[in-house]
C-alpha cells in the first residue's frame, strides 16, 4: 500500500490516518507557527496562529486532520500577515513589557513574533489592570501576560488531576482564574512539580527566586529561532 501524503508549501508530507496537519508537519520537521498547541495535550484550536489553507479553505492545522493529496499552504504572505495581526492583538490586549519580563528569551509569544518579523504592536494598547497573585510561596502568577492558551488548564486537569486553573468570562472579558474560594494560588493544591507549572508558553506562571539566573541574551530563543525548537524552554 502506498504511503498517504499531502503537499505542504510544495513539500510532500507523509501522514498516518488520524494525524492532524500539525502533527504530520512536525513529524516531517516543518514548522507551522502555533501557541495553544502542545504535542502532549489535546488540541484546543483557540489561538488560530496555526491556520493554514487546505485545498483553499482556512483551517486550524492543530485540529484539522490530514487528508490524502490535499494541497496545504502555510508559509504565505497572506497567512503570515494574518498571523502577525493575531500576535499584535495578543500584545496589546495584555501588558507585555519584555525588558522586565522574566520569561523574555524563553517566551514562545515573543519568539513567534520574532520569527514572523513583528516590528511593532500596530494597534492601540488596552493597558489593562491585572493584579498579580504572589500568594504561593514558590510560584508567582503575572496575569498581565496571559494569552488564554489554556495549556495550564489542560495540564492541571488532564495530567495533574487537580483543576487548579480555569477560564472565566466571555469574549474580550475572558480571563484566567484560579479555582479556589479566595481565588489565590496559595489556597489550591498547586505544586512546583505539577505539569501545569511547566507549560505556560509566556511569562505568567513563574517560579520565584529564579528570575534572571540565565542572563537575557543567552536564553533559549536568543540562541536559536523558534522554528528550530518550538517547544523547548528553560524549566
Amino acid at each position: 500500500m502506498s504511503e498517504k501524503t499531502f503537499v505542504l508549501d510544495g513539500k510532500t508530507i507523509p501522514y498516518a490516518e488520524g494525524q492532524t496537519i500539525m502533527q504530520a508537519a512536525m513529524a516531517a520537521g516543518v514548522y507551522i507557527p502555533r501557541l495553544c498547541y502542545h504535542p502532549e495535550f489535546k488540541p484546543h484550536g483557540s489561538c488560530k496562529l496555526c491556520t493554514v489553507k487546505s485545498n483553499g479553505r482556512q483551517a486550524a492545522s492543530c485540529t484539522q486532520l490530514a487528508q490524502s493529496a490535499a494541497v496545504v499552504e502555510s508559509d504565505t504572505q497572506e497567512l503570515n500577515d494574518e498571523r502577525r495581526a493575531l500576535l499584535q492583538m495578543l500584545f496589546v490586549e495584555g501588558n507585555h513589557f519584555c525588558p522586565s519580563c522574566e520569561q523574555s528569551g524563553n517566551c514562545q509569544l515573543q519568539a513567534t513574533a520574532y520569527a514572523l518579523n513583528v516590528m511593532s504592536t500596530h494597534y492601540d494598547h488596552f493597558f489593562p489592570d491585572r493584579p498579580l497573585d504572589a500568594s504561593h510561596p514558590e510560584y508567582l502568577l503575572d496575569f498581565n501576560r496571559c494569552i488564554l492558551c489554556s495549556l495550564c488548564i489542560r495540564a492541571s486537569r488532564d495530567v495533574d488531576g487537580k483543576n487548579v486553573f480555569g477560564l472565566a468570562g466571555r469574549g474580550i472579558k475572558s480571563h484566567l482564574i484560579v479555582n479556589a474560594q479566595s481565588g489565590a494560588l496559595a489556597d489550591t493544591d498547586f505544586a512546583g512539580d505539577d505539569k501545569a507549572a511547566q507549560v505556560c508558553p509566556v511569562g505568567v506562571i513563574l517560579k520565584k527566586r529564579r528570575g534572571f539566573a540565565v542572563p537575557i541574551g543567552q536564553r533559549t530563543y536568543d540562541l536559536k529561532p523558534i522554528s528550530a525548537m518550538p517547544d523547548a524552554k528553560e524549566s
Partner: protein, 184 residues
C-alpha cells in the same frame, strides 16, 4: 566639469519619554558613525543641540509619550520628516514609563509628592506653568501619528540600528533577522 555632489540626507533625533539608551545605542555603531556621517547630516538632535527641527528626511525617535510636550515634539517631527522611525521599546509600546498606566495619575502624584517617605518639608505636586502636563496614560508613538519604521529592543543593539539605517539609506525595506530582532 565637477561631478554633482550627492546631497546628504538630513536626520533629526529626539528622546521623548525615554532614557537616552537608544541614543547611546546609536553611538554604539562605533566607527560606522564615520560612514553614516558621509551620508547624513544631523538636524535637531541631542548630538547637535539644535532646538527646532527643520525639513528632514529621517526622524529617529526614542521614548513614548508621557506629557503634552512629548506630543508636541512628535507632531513637529511628523510634519517635518519624510520618514519617521520609532526606536526602542518605549516608542513602540510605552515601555517602562507605561508601567504606570494601571494607576490613576492623581494617585501617583499624591504618593510621590505627599505620602512617600523622606519628603522635604513643604513638598508639593509641582504646578509651575512652564512644566509640561503629564498625560493620564503613557502612549506609544503609533497611537498618535503614523510611524513608518520600528526598531524594537530595550535598547535595540547598535547593529540593529545600523542595519535599519543602512537598509534605508541604500533604498531597501529594512529587515532584521534572528539575533537582531529583540524586544528586550
Amino acid at each position: 566639469m565637477d561631478t554633482p555632489v550627492k546631497r546628504k540626507l538630513k536626520v533629526a533625533t529626539t528622546s521623548l519619554a525615554g532614557c537616552f539608551g537608544c541614543h547611546m545605542s546609536l553611538l554604539d555603531i562605533d566607527e560606522r558613525l564615520f560612514d553614516l556621517l558621509e551620508l547624513v547630516e544631523f538636524d535637531r538632535s541631542p548630538l547637535t543641540d539644535i532646538k527646532h527641527i527643520g525639513t528632514c528626511d529621517i526622524g529617529f525617535i526614542e521614548g513614548g509619550l508621557c506629557n503634552n510636550e512629548n506630543v508636541h515634539v512628535l507632531r513637529e517631527f511628523r510634519s517635518n520628516c519624510k520618514v519617521l522611525i520609532a526606536v526602542g521599546a518605549c516608542a513602540i509600546n510605552g515601555g517602562l514609563p507605561a508601567q504606570r498606566n494601571h494607576l490613576a495619575l492623581p494617585i501617583i502624584l499624591q504618593e510621590v509628592y505627599h505620602t512617600s517617605h523622606g519628603l522635604a518639608a513643604g513638598s508639593d505636586i509641582p504646578n509651575d506653568p512652564e512644566l509640561p502636563l503629564p498625560l493620564n496614560k503613557v502612549h506609544p508613538l503609533h497611537e498618535v501619528v503614523k510611524i513608518d519604521y520600528f526598531i524594537p529592543g530595550c535598547p535595540p543593539s547598535g547593529d540593529a540600528i545600523w542595519k535599519v539605517l543602512a537598509d534605508l539609506l541604500a533604498g531597501h525595506e529594512p529587515q532584521l533577522g534572528h539575533g537582531l530582532i529583540h524586544y528586550d
